[in-house]
C-alpha cells in the first residue's frame, strides 16, 4: 500500500518536475504565467539568458566534478578546456566552414586530445604538483588561443557563424534552452550511468585508494588519462556551445577566475556526485541575481543599512560568496548535495522511528 502510494507520488513529482522544466523558459521569456504578468521578484529576478548560460555551466561543472570529485584529480585548467572547445569550433566552423553539428563533434574530439595531453603530467606527479601543472596548462592554452586569434581572426574576437541545425536556426533564448537541455540531461545521465558500471566504479576506487585499486588489476595511469580525456571532451563541448551562444569569443574571456568558479561550484554543490555539480552551478550562477534583487527590494532595513547594501552591492555579493564557500568547506564538506543527503537520511530515520 505504502509502496503503491509512494510510487504514485514519485510519478507525480516527476510529471510536475518535467512540466516545470518545459514551461519555465516560456515564463521567463514572456514574464507571464498562463497569461498573467508576474512581477520580477516573483521570478527571483532571473532571466532566461541566465538560465541558458547556467545550462552550459552545468555541463562544465559536472565534467569537472567527474574529474575532481570522482577521480580525485584537482584541476584549475577547466577554463582552458572551454577555450580549447571554442578554438576548435572557430577553426572548424569559421576556417574550414563545417556545419554547426560537425564543429561540435570536432570540439569534443579536440577536447579529448587536449585532455590526454593535459593528463600526461598525472603519470609523474600527484596532488599539489598536479594542480600546478594544470595551472601552467591554463596559461599556455590561453596564450595559444590569443596568438591563434590574432593570427587568423579579429583582435576584438572570433566571430562564430550561426548555430543552425538542419535549417533550424538557434536565434533566441527559448530555442537555445530547448537545444541545451537535452545536452545537459544526456551528459548527466551518461556520467551517472558510467559511474555505476565497471570502469566508472574503478574511477571511484582509484580516488579512494590508488594502491588497492592497482592491486585489483586497475591500470590507474591509463584510467587517469581516460578520465581526463572524457572530462575535457565534455568541457570542450560546453566551450563550443558557449562560443556559439555568445556569437563571438575572445581569448580574454578565459581567465583563471572562470576555472576557479567551476571549482567553487563543485565545492558548493558537493564533490563527487553529479547532482552536486548541477546544484553548485545553479546556486553559483543564480544566487547573485537573487541576492541583488532582494537587496534592491529590501525596504525593511533601516535607511543607512539598505543604502550601504545597495551602494556596495557587487562587493556584498562577492563577500557573501567567499563566506559561503568558506562556511561550507568548514561545516559541510559534502556541499549542498551532502547536506541534502544527511537531511533526507535524518528524515527517513525519524519516519521509521514513528
Amino acid at each position: 500500500m505504502t509502496t503503491l502510494r509512494s510510487s504514485v507520488l514519485r510519478l507525480l513529482c516527476w510529471a510536475i518536475g518535467i512540466g516545470f522544466v518545459l514551461y519555465v523558459p516560456f515564463v521567463l521569456n514572456t514574464r507571464t504565467v498562463f497569461g498573467y504578468r508576474v512581477g520580477n521578484m516573483v521570478l527571483l529576478n532571473l532571466g532566461l539568458a541566465q538560465v541558458d548560460l547556467m545550462l552550459i555551466s552545468i555541463i562544465g561543472a559536472v565534467s569537472l566534478n567527474f574529474l575532481t570529485g570522482c577521480a580525485g584529480l584537482i584541476s584549475v585548467g577547466h577554463a582552458a578546456f572551454f577555450a580549447v572547445g571554442a578554438m576548435a569550433a572557430a577553426a572548424a566552423g569559421q576556417q574550414l566552414g563545417l556545419p554547426f553539428a560537425a564543429t561540435l563533434i570536432a570540439a569534443t574530439i579536440a577536447g579529448a586530445i587536449a585532455g590526454v595531453i593535459a593528463g600526461l603530467p598525472s603519470l609523474r606527479v600527484r596532488g599539489l604538483y598536479f594542480v600546478l601543472s594544470t595551472l601552467a596548462l591554463h596559461f599556455i592554452v590561453v596564450f595559444c588561443f590569443a596568438e591563434y586569434q590574432y593570427a587568423f581572426h579579429d583582435v576584438a574576437g572570433v566571430t562564430m557563424g550561426d548555430a543552425t541545425i538542419m535549417g533550424f536556426e538557434l536565434d533566441n533564448n527559448v530555442k537555445w534552452y530547448f537545444f541545451l537541455l537535452p545536452f545537459v540531461v544526456l551528459v548527466c545521465v551518461m556520467l551517472q550511468s558510467t559511474l555505476g558500471l565497471r570502469e566508472g566504479r574503478a574511477v571511484l576506487a582509484m580516488r579512494d585508494n590508488e594502491l588497492a585499486a592497482a592491486a585489483s588489476g586497475i591500470d590507474v595511469r591509463m584510467l587517469r588519462l581516460k578520465v581526463f580525456a572524457f572530462s575535457s571532451a565534455i568541457a570542450s563541448l560546453a566551450g563550443a556551445l558557449q562560443a556559439y551562444y555568445f556569437t563571438s569569443v575572445s581569448a580574454e574571456i578565459y581567465t583563471l577566475d572562470t576555472a576557479i568558479q567551476f571549482i567553487a561550484m563543485i565545492i558548493v554543490g558537493g564533490m563527487g556526485s553529479i547532482r552536486g555539480g548541477i546544484a553548485g552551478a545553479v546556486v553559483w550562477l543564480l544566487l547573485p541575481s537573487v541576492l541583488v534583487g532582494t537587496t534592491v527590494e529590501l525596504k525593511v532595513l533601516p535607511g543607512g543599512v539598505a543604502q550601504f547594501l545597495v551602494g556596495h552591492q557587487p562587493q556584498m555579493v562577492n563577500l557573501t560568496f567567499g563566506v559561503l564557500v568558506a562556511v561550507l568547506l568548514i561545516t559541510a564538506p559534502g556541499g549542498l548535495a551532502g547536506l541534502a543527503r544527511s537531511f533526507a537520511a535524518r528524515g527517513s530515520r525519524q519516519g521509521s522511528g514513528v
Binding site: P121, M316, V325, I330
Partner: protein, 288 residues
C-alpha cells in the same frame, strides 16, 4: 642592455622572492598551498595606505603598523579558516585560500573603493648610475629591504626556538605533536610570518606603482616561483623568485611581454615533470 635587464630583474625578483618566501614558510609549516598570497600582498599595500594616509603615521610608524597588522591578520586567518580544516583533503585547503582572497578583495573594495590609491611613504626617489646600469632608488630600497627581511627570516628559522619548532613540525607533524609541541601556535606563527612577508612585498609594489587590488595578479607569480625553486626549500623560494623576475625582464626585453607566461609556465611544467621537487628541493621518498 643585458646588464640593465639583469639588474632590474634582480631587483624585481628580490621582491618576488620575499613574497615567495612567505608562501614557502606557510607551506612548509602548515602544508597549506596559499592561493591568497597575492591578495595578502595587495592587503599589505592597503595597510600601508591606512598607516600613512589614513592614520598619518611617519615612515617608521607605518612600517610598524603594517608588520603588526599583517601579523595579526595572519593569526586570525589561521585561527578562523585554516585550523578548522586541519587534516582535510588538498582541495579543501586550496579552496579555502581562494575563498580568503575573494573575501579580502571584497572587504578592501568596500573599505577603500575600487580605484587605486596613491602610496607615498617618503622613501628615497630618483636614480643613480652604477657602472653601465641605471638603478632607481626605490628599486634598490625594495631589493635591499627584501634581502634584509629574507636574512632576518633565515636567522629566525635557523636559530630561534620557534624556528626550530617550525622546522621540526615541518619534518614530522606527528612527532611534533607527540613531543608536546603546540602545533597550533607554530602554525599561527607561520601564517603571521608569511602574511608579514607578503605585506612588505605589497608595500614596495604599491610604492612602485599604486595600491590596488589588481596587485594580486603580480603576487600570484609567487606560485611558479616557489615551485621552480622547490616547495620544500626555503632558499629555493628566494632563488625561484629571482628566477621569475629575471625571466620576466629578459623575455619582455628580448621577445615580448606576453612571452612571460610561456617562459614562466613552460619551465614550470618541465620542472614538474622532470624534477617535481624543484630545482633546490629535496626528493621526497615515496613509501607504500
Amino acid at each position: 642592455m643585458l646588464m640593465q635587464f639583469l639588474a632590474s630583474g634582480f631587483m624585481l625578483g628580490s621582491v618576488y622572492g620575499l613574497v615567495a618566501l612567505g608562501f614557502a614558510a606557510i607551506y612548509k609549516a602548515t602544508r597549506v598551498f596559499n592561493f591568497a598570497q597575492g591578495m595578502l600582498m595587495a592587503t599589505g599595500a592597503y595597510l600601508a595606505v591606512t598607516g600613512s594616509v589614513v592614520l598619518g603615521l611617519p615612515l617608521v610608524g607605518t612600517i610598524a603598523f603594517v608588520v603588526v597588522a599583517a601579523g595579526t591578520l595572519g593569526v586570525v586567518i589561521q585561527w578562523l579558516l585554516i585550523r578548522p580544516l586541519a587534516g582535510r583533503p588538498l582541495l579543501a585547503m586550496v579552496m579555502i585560500t581562494i575563498a580568503l582572497s575573494i573575501i579580502l578583495r571584497a572587504l578592501i573594495v568596500i573599505i577603500f573603493g575600487g580605484g587605486a590609491q596613491t602610496l607615498r611613504l617618503g622613501l628615497p626617489e630618483g636614480s643613480f648610475v652604477l657602472g653601465s646600469v641605471r638603478i632607481s632608488a626605490i628599486h634598490a630600497t625594495a631589493a635591499g629591504v627584501s634581502w634584509l627581511c629574507m636574512a632576518l627570516f633565515m636567522v629566525f628559522f635557523r636559530f630561534s626556538k620557534a624556528g626550530l619548532l617550525m622546522r621540526a613540525t615541518a619534518d614530522s607533524h606527528e612527532a611534533a605533536v607527540l613531543s608536546g609541541v603546540n602545533v597550533n601556535r607554530i602554525n599561527a606563527t607561520a601564517w603571521a610570518l608569511g602574511t608579514i612577508l607578503a605585506a612588505i612585498g605589497g608595500v614596495f609594489l604599491g610604492q612602485l606603482q599604486v595600491a590596488s587590488v589588481e596587485l594580486e595578479n603580480i603576487g600570484l607569480l609567487a606560485l611558479p616561483a616557489v615551485v621552480i625553486g622547490g616547495l620544500q626549500s626555503i632558499p629555493g623560494a628566494i632563488i625561484g623568485g629571482l628566477l621569475v623576475g629575471l625571466i620576466e625582464q629578459l623575455s619582455s626585453g628580448y621577445i615580448s611581454p606576453k612571452a612571460r607566461d610561456i617562459f614562466v609556465y613552460v619551465p614550470l611544467l618541465i620542472i614538474l615533470l622532470v624534477r617535481p621537487w624543484g630545482l633546490f628541493g629535496e626528493r621526497e621518498l615515496g613509501r607504500v
